[in-house]
């Protein structure tokens, strides 16, 4: 019956109700988007970092993975030392550099990654096969990304010339080699617009000559954590991390968690923007509902007094009016959910245009829990926005209001 009354009250002024629902829908959409933005990058970055199961990243001291072209020498010994730790399951060393790729008249500069196919956590193979390590020195086989294929106009099985110099026109110096493209891969950390290729680590080191000998830019380590709870996992990873840093002064070891925290710091702007706009949309929602319900209560004070006179308790009046807020909220949120997802997708495509971002990084990520929580918050806010006018209505002095209704 209370629902009937609440519903009827909303239907009495369809235009008003529609506007309020629309306003709430936009507030809900904005809130949802902002929650998706605030939690999304973090979640996206985390899944990117953890997708291959490596929890530690070892880089030249003071740098981040591929943030500079810094590399460390003595890679083989370093990797061997890491592998010797009983808690380390796998180590994947890699070396990154820029090479010039040429086929016929076409030339592009590409990101070259030396890594070992059996342990690598840098790419996923889409077509073809992993490159094999040549018996002798020169690079023989490579896998490339889609951008490489299109920019150079080549396909699997084609042969490409590589050189270390910026321009292939320069003939006197620079190292040169030739590779067969044996596979196509998606490189997790390489921006989609950047041509990339990968060869076995040893092959790339050799190709680079003295500047590549026994060097690496990054080693990723996977720590054994099977059967441990979250806290124990974190503990063990941290112990291994500390061991690496004390054992090897030339490197920095970063855990996924630390990397995420550091990213969070950089993301502060987006999170704060999201927080402010999210809070604003909550306020807007609450204000809308309060205004609407106040108005509707003021118009109906007499009616509500009659309800009280014929025996509806205070709580009943309170419930009925808050129910109106709840219904408005539910309708607004339902529409807002759809609206929010559409706008989030749109905003995400805008931000994904950032030059230099890994292909798999998203800014707006749907998270059921976050969405659920934020929308529930809006719903509760909308319901309680009706509480103030509702409370006022429930306190109406019955005899007095009956008289006033008779006068009005």
């Amino acid at each position: 019956m209370r629902a009937t009354l609440a519903w009827a009250a909303l239907r009495r002024h369809p235009m008003r109700t529609l506007l309020a629902v629309f306003g709430l829908a936009i507030a809900a959409a904005l809130l949802l988007d902002m929650v998706m933005l605030a939690t999304g990058m973090r979640a996206s970055f985390r899944s990117l970092l953890t997708s291959q199961g490596y929890q530690l990243r070892v880089t030249p001291k003071g740098t981040l993975p591929f943030d500079t072209e810094a590399s460390v020498g003595g890679a083989a010994a370093l990797v061997a030392s890491l592998r010797s730790h009983p808690d380390v399951a796998r180590v994947s060393p890699s070396l990154g550099t820029t090479v010039q790729a040429q086929r016929g008249e076409q030339a592009v500069s590409a990101f070259a990654l030396g890594t070992n196919a059996d342990v690598q956590g840098e790419y996923t193979l889409l077509a073809g096969r992993e490159p094999s390590m040549p018996a002798d020195s020169t690079i023989r086989e490579a896998i490339v990304n889609a951008t490489f294929l299109t920019r150079l106009g080549v396909s699997l099985g084609d042969t490409v010339d590589l050189s270390t110099e910026r321009s292939a026109q320069l003939r006197q110096s620079g190292r040169r080699g030739r590779v067969v493209i044996v596979g196509e891969a998606r490189f997790l950390y390489v921006p989609p617009g950047l041509p990339a290729l990968s060869t076995p680590l040893g092959a790339l080191q050799h190709f680079l000559g003295t500047s590549g000998r026994d060097r690496m830019s990054l080693a990723m380590a996977s720590v054994r954590v099977d059967g441990l709870d979250a806290a124990a996992q974190r503990d063990r990873i941290e112990r291994v991390r500390l061991w690496i840093e004390t054992e090897h002064s030339r490197v920095t070891a970063i855990s996924t968690e630390t990397a995420i925290v550091q990213v969070e710091e950089r993301l502060a702007y987006f999170r704060q923007l999201a927080f402010i706009l999210g809070a604003l949309s909550l306020v807007i929602g609450v204000l809308l509902v309060t205004t609407l319900v106040s108005l509707s209560v003021n118009e109906r004070l007499g009616e509500l007094a009659v309800l009280r006179a014929i025996g509806v308790p205070r709580a009943g009046v309170l419930q009925q009016i808050m129910l109106e807020g709840l219904m408005l909220g539910l309708a607004g949120i339902t529409i807002g959910l759809g609206l929010g997802l559409v706008t989030a997708r749109w905003l995400n495509t805008i931000l994904r245009d950032f030059p230099g971002l890994p292909a798999d990084l998203d800014f707006f990520v749907w998270s059921g829990e976050a969405a659920w929580k934020s929308l529930a918050m809006l719903l509760i806010a909308a319901t309680f926005a009706g509480a103030i006018p509702a409370w006022r209505a429930s306190r109406v002095r019955v005899a007095q209001a009956l008289r006033e209704e008779a006068v009005a």
């Binding site: 025996g311 509806v312 009956l402 008779a406």
Partner: protein, 245 residues
């Protein structure tokens, strides 16, 4: 549809009831000490000039308002100091209220309006629908159950209001100028309805300016300036037939 009979014959007893309204500096003495006993099955009309305190008294009798001084006893229970929740419960279950302006919920149909107090009392949906339909048939609106108040005439609306007042089988029906907004013929029909209810045993107290309605009562209480000045009983209670048009 016979209202429940209590053990005692006295239904309502007001003892030296006073009520005043303060509006800024001035104080209006709406009731200056009213004592009144109403027994079960009575049909009482309260008459008097405008401003004499009739509505105020009716509100006190129905636990809509509380007296400043004095006590009101209803079914043997002092109702002058009830908490809001208790007073509400009393109004819901034991008192039926009818107003001059009907005060139906404009958004609900006639049937829903009658079902509303039963829903509040926690009666099961099927039972409340059945009883609401029965009540509407009783007041002669069996065919109009689905209509909104705006689709009904004043007389019809007032009959819906009476049906609503009867929803939870109250011991007392209070009506404040129930014919005030109705024309003579429609008013007479309503009076006939109230008489029929009274004949079935329901205690009715009405405030009225309507001479016809006052005449139809067994007992007429006249008020002036916050006091009862006459309280007359006609020994030969008129029957419904006497006042029907």
């Amino acid at each position: 549809m016979k209202p429940i009979n209590g053990t005692s014959d006295v239904l309502l007893d007001a003892r030296d009831v006073k009520r005043e309204y303060r509006a800024g500096e001035s104080t209006v003495h709406a009731l200056r000490g009213v004592s009144l006993t109403i027994t079960r099955g009575e049909f009482v009309a309260i008459v008097g000039a405008s401003g004499s305190g009739k509505s105020t008294l009716l509100h006190l009798l129905g636990a809509v308002d509380a007296p400043d001084v004095g006590s009101v006893t209803f079914e043997g229970r002092d109702i002058s100091h009830l908490s809001d929740a208790e007073a509400t419960r009393l109004r819901l279950l034991r008192v039926g209220l009818v107003f001059q302006r009907f005060y139906l919920m404009p958004t609900l149909s006639a049937l829903e309006n009658v079902m509303l107090p039963m829903a509040e009392a926690g009666i099961a949906p099927a039972a409340r629908r059945a009883r609401a339909e029965e009540l509407l048939r009783y007041v002669g609106l069996g065919e109009r159950t689905g209509h909104r108040p705006t689709q009904l005439s004043g007389g019809e609306q007032q009959r819906v209001a009476v049906a609503r007042a009867l929803a939870n089988q109250p011991a007392l029906l209070l009506a404040d100028e129930p014919t005030g907004e109705l024309d003579a013929a429609t008013g007479a029909a309503l009076i006939a309805l109230l008489q029929r209810l009274n004949a079935d045993g329901l205690t009715c107290v009405l405030v009225t300016h309507d001479a016809a309605l006052a005449q139809s009562a067994q007992r007429v209480i006249t008020m002036r300036d916050g006091r009862i000045v006459h309280d007359t009983r006609s020994d030969t209670a008129p029957t419904a037939g006497d006042i029907a048009p």
